[in-house]
Amino acid sequence: MKRLLIANRGEIAVRIARTAREMGIETLVVASEPDADSLAARSADHVVVVGPAPAPASYLNQDAIIAAALDNGCDAVHPGYGFLSENAEFARKVVEAGLTWVGPDAGAIEMMGNKSMARDSARKAGVPVLRGSDGPLDPEADALALARDIGYPLVVKASAGGGGRGIRFVHDEGELLATIEMARGEAASVFGDPTVYLERFVKHARHVEVQVLGDGKNFIHLGDRDCSMQRRSQKVIEEAPAPDLPDAVRQTIRESSVELARECGYSGAGTVEFLYDPANHEAAFIEMNTRIQVEHPVTEVVTGVDLVREQLLIASTGSMSVRQEDIEFNGHAIECRINAEDPHNNFFPSPGVISVLEWFEGDGVRIDAGVEAGSTVSPYYDSMLAKLIVHKDTREAAIEGALEALYGTRIEGVKTTIPVLKKLLDRLEFSAVKHHSKFIETVDNLMEPK
């Protein structure tokens, strides 16, 4: 691998360019017109403008991105997260163009992208799954009888959904058939596939996940993370390791995630996501993401493994540099996502120009930023500006450290979520691990003074 095309923007493009440079790989980042002079564009050795601001014309423009790679002598493509990272068609086109795809092959992306197929392979690999329809709900099946076995409340999920989209809640039997009908119609129009499946609903569930790496021959895990602090299914605070998880559960999710990677001959970095029911001490498979995750830094700082480096090694040499017995876990890490949104105004997006930006510097503090002072925060893309990662010996110290770092951070010109991150880290529910993935929605007066 001599010259890597980075098909992304913002902090993850900056992050990938950093490791590539350390490995002596030249980088070329693609950019939309307004991003031509962004921090990401300047972090790479070369920048190629592939289209105007709207993502479908630039960051999702498959042909323009592949042409940029071929015209500029690139030999590999790293998709980052979001955009084209889990697009099997794009992965296939990259390989057909004679380029190296930094990620698992199109077949693995496709299988994990289909949520009922993914659930089925997880079950076969011994990954615990929630009671449900075990695959797509047959339109001819007796849904009422099946639902009685699963129990209420339950959820109807679109097979082609994921990331919190395409999910409908069913309280009782009276709502079931109409909801299935509606979910099928919605799935057909939104995802182009009417297939749905049924799954038990867990109240107050936490979100835990396991980082895996595979190179087609060896398959390992790099421990777990907890990402339960979410707003509308979008993660807000993440940490590693997952706190307050029984040893048996931790062992089960770690080992079965490795088995799932082995089952599909996985090649690259991946994340197996679980819902954890603290009342019953049970974890169950949600989905597997076949890309680098936003929250990968918490795993990197507690293990000392550079996940982007491993991705690039697997793609270029066919082998990762670490074995399971090399992986050690040290301390606790917390990541806060800093978004350009106004927490005092229902998280309304806040585009604009960043006039002042001062990061806190200190021991164990890492900032993965996509912006700097003077950057324009565009209305065209998602609102994440940066991630603040704090690594300390204990969870308590990491929470304290994250608060200190947030109080020492100054961003002006746009509204940010820093005030709500401070409130959340300060909640007793968070320190006692009594929060869950709907916690933020259940607190009415989060932003009011105590």
Binding site: P54, V190, A340, E341, F348, P349, P351, P379, Y380, Y381, D382, S383
Partner: protein, 79 residues
């Protein structure tokens, strides 16, 4: 004539999604509260509803154009 203005900054869309019919067309009779478009900002979508009743005279912006708060989106002949 009355103007329907955008209350927020973002990208204006006439359709609920790619390949879908527009919410409203020139010459349509529209009512108060009727959805006439969507403004997207940072992946959040806000429906634009008409605050007047009448006939849709013209669009002041094109599909995919950037709008600012207070910008006229649609001109309506009241009645």
């Amino acid at each position: 004539m009355a103007n329907i203005v955008s209350p927020l900054p973002g990208i204006f869309y006439r359709k609920p999604g790619p390949g879908k019919p527009p919410f409203a067309n020139e010459g349509d009779t529209i009512e108060v509260g009727q959805t006439v478009g969507i403004v997207e900002i940072m992946k959040q979508f806000t429906e634009i509803q008409s605050d007047v009743a009448g006939v849709l005279e013209s669009f002041a912006v094109n599909e995919g154009d950037m709008v600012n708060p207070g910008d006229t989106i649609i001109v309506v002949r009241e009645g």
